[in-house]
C-alpha cells in the first residue's frame, strides 16, 4: 500500500510541472511590457532596458523559466505593488481563511448530498427521489454569488438570524491565537468556545452557499452508485443471510457505493475552489480569493500569479489526498488485471 501511495505521489509530478509551465506562460503573456510598467511612466528607454535586464526579461524563454522555478523554490513569488509586501507572505496569511471556508463547504456539501443520494436511491421514484433531482439540478444552476446574496437577504436582512456578511469574525470578537490559522480549530485548541461560535456563525452562510453549488455532483453520484450497488449480487447474499436492513444498507451497500463518490470529489474540489473566489467576494471574506480580486482590479499581476499557482498546487494536493484515501479504503486498488 505504501508503494502504491508512493507511486501515486510520483504521478503528481507531471501535473505540478504542467502547472508551473502554465503559470509561467501566463506571466509572460501579461499585457504590455512589465519592464515599462515597473519603470513608471516617466522612464527613459534606457532605464526601461536597464530594468528589463534586471528582471531577466532579456533572456530566452527556457532560461527565464529556470529562473522562475528557482525563484519559486526560494519561495519568491514577487511583491504585491498594492501592499508592498511579498506575495508569499500575503498568500500565507490569507490562505487559512480560504481553506477553512472551502473545507467547511465540503463538509456541509457532503453532509447534505450523501444522505440525500442514499435516501433517493433506497426509495426510487418516491418524492424524496424527485426532490433530490430537482434540488441538484437547481443547485448547479444557481450561480454561487447569487445564492450567497439571496441567503444574506433572507437570513441577515429579513430574519436577522445570520451575522453581517463582513468577514471571519464580528467586531466584538478578536481572532484566536494563531496556531493553524483556522479559527474553528484554533479557538478549540485554546478552549475559547465563544470565539468558536462566533467564527462558526460567520462561516455557516458562505459554507452553505458553497455547498449548494457542489451538492449536485455528490448527490447524483451517490444515488447512481447506491442504486447500482443495491442491485448487485453481494447485497443479495447479505439479504439472503438475514442481515438487518441497517447492516445491509450501511455496512455493505453504503461503503461500496462511496468508492465512486470519493473519486468525484476531485471535480467537486474544482467547483469549490472556483466558487470560493466568488463567495469570498460576496461575504467580504479575507481569503486569497478576495486578495486576487483586489489585485485584478489594481492590475497588480504578481499576486494574481501567486494566487493561481497556490490554488493549482492546492488542487493538485487535494486530488492527491483523494487518491490516497481511495487507496486506503479500497483493498483492490493495484491488484486489478
Amino acid at each position: 500500500m505504501l508503494l502504491l501511495i508512493g507511486k501515486r505521489l510520483l504521478s503528481a509530478i507531471p501535473s505540478v510541472i504542467g502547472v508551473l509551465v502554465v503559470t509561467f506562460l501566463l506571466t509572460r503573456a501579461l499585457p504590455g511590457d512589465p519592464a515599462a510598467y515597473f519603470a513608471g511612466p516617466a522612464a527613459t528607454p534606457q532605464a526601461i532596458a536597464e530594468i528589463r535586464k534586471s528582471l531577466g526579461l532579456d533572456k530566452s524563454l527556457p532560461e527565464q523559466f529556470v529562473v522562475y522555478v528557482k525563484d519559486l523554490a526560494r519561495g519568491d513569488l514577487g511583491n504585491s505593488i498594492a501592499t508592498g509586501r511579498p506575495v508569499l507572505e500575503e498568500v500565507r496569511s490569507r490562505l487559512p481563511a480560504s481553506l477553512e471556508l472551502t473545507l467547511l463547504g465540503l463538509v456541509v456539501s457532503v453532509g447534505i448530498a450523501v444522505p440525500l443520494g442514499v435516501l433517493a436511491a433506497t426509495r426510487p421514484g418516491s418524492w424524496i427521489d424527485h426532490s433530490c433531482r430537482v434540488i441538484t439540478t437547481a443547485g448547479v444552476s444557481l450561480p454561487a454569488f447569487f445564492t450567497g446574496l439571496l441567503l444574506i437577504y433572507v437570513l441577515y436582512y429579513l430574519l436577522g438570524w445570520a451575522p453581517a456578511p463582513l468577514g471571519r469574525l464580528d467586531i466584538f470578537n478578536s481572532a484566536p491565537r494563531d496556531i493553524t490559522g483556522l479559527y474553528l480549530v484554533d479557538s478549540l485548541l485554546v478552549g475559547d468556545l465563544e470565539t468558536f461560535w462566533a467564527a462558526l456563525k460567520q462561516l455557516l452562510l458562505p459554507a452553505f452557499t458553497l455547498a449548494v453549488f457542489t451538492l449536485a455532483p455528490i448527490a447524483r453520484m451517490t444515488r447512481a452508485s447506491m442504486l447500482e450497488v443495491l442491485s448487485s449480487d453481494f447485497i443479495r447474499t447479505a439479504r439472503a443471510s438475514g442481515l438487518s436492513p441497517g447492516k445491509v444498507v450501511y455496512a455493505y451497500a453504503f461503503r461500496n457505493a462511496m468508492l465512486p463518490v470519493v473519486t468525484t470529489l476531485g471535480m467537486v474540489f474544482s467547483f469549490l475552489l472556483g466558487a470560493n473566489v466568488l463567495v469570498e467576494k460576496v461575504f467580504s471574506w479575507p481569503g486569497i480569493g478576495t486578495f486576487a480580486i483586489e489585485a485584478l482590479i489594481a492590475s497588480d499581476y504578481a499576486p494574481i500569479q501567486g494566487f493561481v499557482l497556490t490554488m493549482a498546487l492546492m488542487y493538485v494536493l487535494l486530488n492527491l489526498a483523494i487518491d490516497v484515501l481511495y487507496i486506503v479504503i479500497d483493498p483492490r486498488v493495484g491488484f486489478e488485471a
Binding site: 504542467g18 439540478t137 437577504y153 466568488l278 494566487f307
Partner: protein, 281 residues
Amino acid sequence: MSETWKHIRYVLTENPVTLFAFGLFGLLLICALFGPWLAPHDPLFTDAARALKPPSAQHWFGTDALGRDIFSRVLVATRLDLGIAFSAVILTFGIGAIAGIAAGYFGGWTDRVVGRIADTIMAFPLFVLAMGIVAALGNTVGNIVIATAIINMPLYARVARAEANIRRNAGFVEAARLSGNSEGRILFMHILPNILPILMVQCSLTMGYAILNAAGLSFIGLGIAPPTPEWGILVAEGAQYIISGEWWVALFPGLALMLAVFCFNLLGDGLRDMVDPRRRT
C-alpha cells in the same frame, strides 16, 4: 429517420420537463435576438430622480442606483451573455472535438500530446484558471470567450477521443479506407458525423457552465465593463444593496442567469435521453 423523429417525439411527450426546457430556450432566444427592440426603456438611460425604486407597473423589475430600468437591462443583457457562452462553446467544440477525434483516431503521440494538454488544464481549478487567463491576456470580452473555451476543452476532447477510439476500426471506417479515402477525409466525413450527436449533448451541458463561468468572471470585475448590461455585472451592482434591503437590483438579473443555466442543463439532460441509444425503450 422517421424512427428518430418518433423517438424525439416520445422523449418530449414522455418528459414534460424537457418540453419545458425547450420552451424556455425559445424564450431566451427571442430575448437574445430581439431584446433591444422589446425593451420598454433605454437600458443606459439614467435618471437620479427615480433611483432605487422597487418594482412597479412602469418598471417591472424596479430601477437601479442610477435610475436605470432593470427589466430593460436584464432583457438586453441576454444577447451578450448567451453570445459569450455560445461563442465559447463553438470555439471549444471546434478545438476540443478535433483534437479529441485526432487523438482517438490516430493514437500514438497525437494522443499523448492531446492527453497531456487536457490533463494540464484539468490540473487547475477551472474557474481559477479562467481568471488567470483573462488577467494575462487582457481584460476583454474576447478573452473571456477564450478562457471559457479553454477550460471546457478537456471535456470535449475526452468525449470525442473515447468515441473516435471505439469507431476507428468500425466496419464503415474500414470500408471508407479500403475505397481509398484519405485519413483526413475519413476523419471529417465519416467519424465526425457519427459522433456529432454525442458532442451536441455535451455542448448543451457545457452551455450552462459557460454562462455561469462568464457571469462569474464579470461578477468579479473581469471582462465586460459597466455600464454595459450583463447579468454578472448587474448582480454585482446589486450586491451592495442587498444588505440595505433593495433586493430587486440583484434578484432579477440573478434569476435570469439561473433560468438560463437551468434551461441548458435540463436541455442537455433531455438531449442525452434522445441521443443515448441505451435509454431508448
